[in-house]
Amino acid sequence: MKGKRLLVLLTLLLAGSALGGCGFKDIDKRFFVVAMSVDPSGKEDKKYLVTVKLAIPSPSEKFGSNQYTLVSEDTDSIAQAVRIIKSKVDKELDLGHLKAIVIGRELVEKGNMDEVMDWFVRRRDIQNIAWVAAGVPDGRSILDLRPPTERLPSNMLFMSFGQVGTETAYIVSEYLFDFRRRLRERGLDPILPIVESRGDQQVAINKVALLDKNKMRLVLDPLDTKIFNSFYQGIGKYDIQIRQDQGYFIISADNVKGSFTIENVQGKTVITLKPHIHGIIEEATSPISKTELAKYERQAEQEIKERALQFVKRLQQANIDPIGFGLRYRARHPGNPDHVWKKWVELYPEVEFRVQPHVRLTSTGQLG
């Protein structure tokens, strides 16, 4: 009886194998694409310059073993470009390890991001947790960096965005799926961190580009990026400079979490921002007294209030909403989503902002 069953199983398996061959390719017949960039094409009749970064495996993983090769192609569509690139290399392209998508700044300024991102989202083999960024001066030159401190090609970008290595509030990281969500969501606008090549094979990531649903509208400088990040990621390792008399002191915060509420006060829509900051004093130009921490807290609150107000007013003037005020409004007002949204579009330019910061200092560091 048992033997019979086994026989049946074997026959079925044999029959199964007759159904079709498989398209499996060995690892030595594949090129792994680790990063990709899209720039506007230099040629007049073409739209994009698509570049793929192909990792060259090295026998041992050590510093400087980040060998790669770049292949570029000018075309009108990304899919086409990748097909043509395939004809330029000898191995099959494997996009399963694509972890960074760099879009040239010029293209972000030109707009039509929905069209650019379509291919990346539609492909089944591209990770949704790939990082998207804007490249300055352009995407290709960001890919073409060979920092001697890397163990794997493009690992510098992965470490920075993943906040695995360096942890800083200046780096905003954006996943592919989140970028796509923001492109589609009414009331939450897309953002792109800006990766700047700063010579000597290194990069700086401390600015962020704010987009409307189509193209770049605003670039935040590092200080504003930090404020934005407190609402976006609520990240730790935060520093805040507070002016005091002629000098300043610096708060090092372990965690800054920005929250906000939308209320209707006497017929006016009021958004109240409530950043919560817990930290210690890390640097001061004039002597700091341990007994007067409360005074410093008030000073800090005053300054944060001014800066945050300035920041959100800039957003309001540009009519963009990367923090998601509109989405919060939609989340609090029942009814037909289209009507609610229309009402918010009318409301947003006239919204009043208030800031209620809450600062708590626990220590003055090692100096009392």
């Binding site: 492109l183 969501e185 939450l188």
Partner: protein, 361 residues
Amino acid sequence: MNRYFVYLVFLNMLVNIVSYVPQILIGSRFQGAIWAILASVPIGMLLIYTCLKSMSRFPRQGLTDILDSILPRWIGRVLLLMSACQFFMAGCISLLSIADTSIRYISPETPLVMGIFMFLIVICMAAVHRTKQVLYLVEIILFIDVPLILFIIVKAFWNRSYDWDAVATVGMSYSALPTWTALSAATYIFSGYSDLVVVHKAFKQTPSPKSVWLFGALGLAILFASFSIPIAFQGADGVSDYIYPWIITADSMRVELGIVERVLPLFLLLYSGISLGSIIVRWHIASDLLKDCLPSSWSRKKPLTSWIFFAFFASVSLVLAFFFNENNILAVGRVWLNFRLPSEVLIVALILIAARRRRTS
């Protein structure tokens, strides 16, 4: 309380993700999905309660015996056939769905028919066993898969990308009345109890109807998770762009310190297991119901009978796989879900009538 009954209901709750329930609910998220979800809980609880309460009057009997006690034999056979079709289609749709997704994301070069064939081998060889053995199998599958699925769900709620505002935005369209399809999709969560039509024969004791509260709470939680997690990750407006919102969402989670950074392979593996378990149970029940429809001269015990049925099931699935693509399968799933709710209500009503008649007589 009978733990195998809990497993069956729970298995059915988990498998909703591959049976197009999230897709349908998300499709009507601004047109009554909220009400459908809220209404499905009392409806589901009522059906479970009625079924358990009535079934307890027929210890160790299946649907066939119950129907025979109130209806002429041939009407009973027609109903059994209909019920068997429902169970077969339930399994078949899950099969097409999981085969389509696993081929698309694991091995895109394999033809769909080939993938389904591989699944079929496992399913048929497991489903041909006795009811008790199938139940043991379900227990093992759940023990392996559920902790990891819970891990993924908990991880999703803790994720920074889980946007409560998007979920609340969808919640704000609560005033819209549900469509029939949305309601059918939402009540599907609770339909695991209907496995009792056959499995009841293997139970020494009917599960106590008191456990219905547990199912209500559990069902609501799972329904909320399976509806809200894709919305929270992909946005209230953008989520409907995706054919498989849950797969995309699983791919949107990152486990920095896991063996593999991506959650997608783990998710596919777990859900292959869950859906295999569910398909095995469904087809086992379908074949058992069909056996009851055979003329009494045919011996139930013949092992060949089951194999003939499974060969039939398998060939129908392969034919369906051959003719349908992902969009058609979704449409088939929708139609099937629409029919499922009324036929389930009909069966439960018949069981209730039979129970009442038995009490009076």
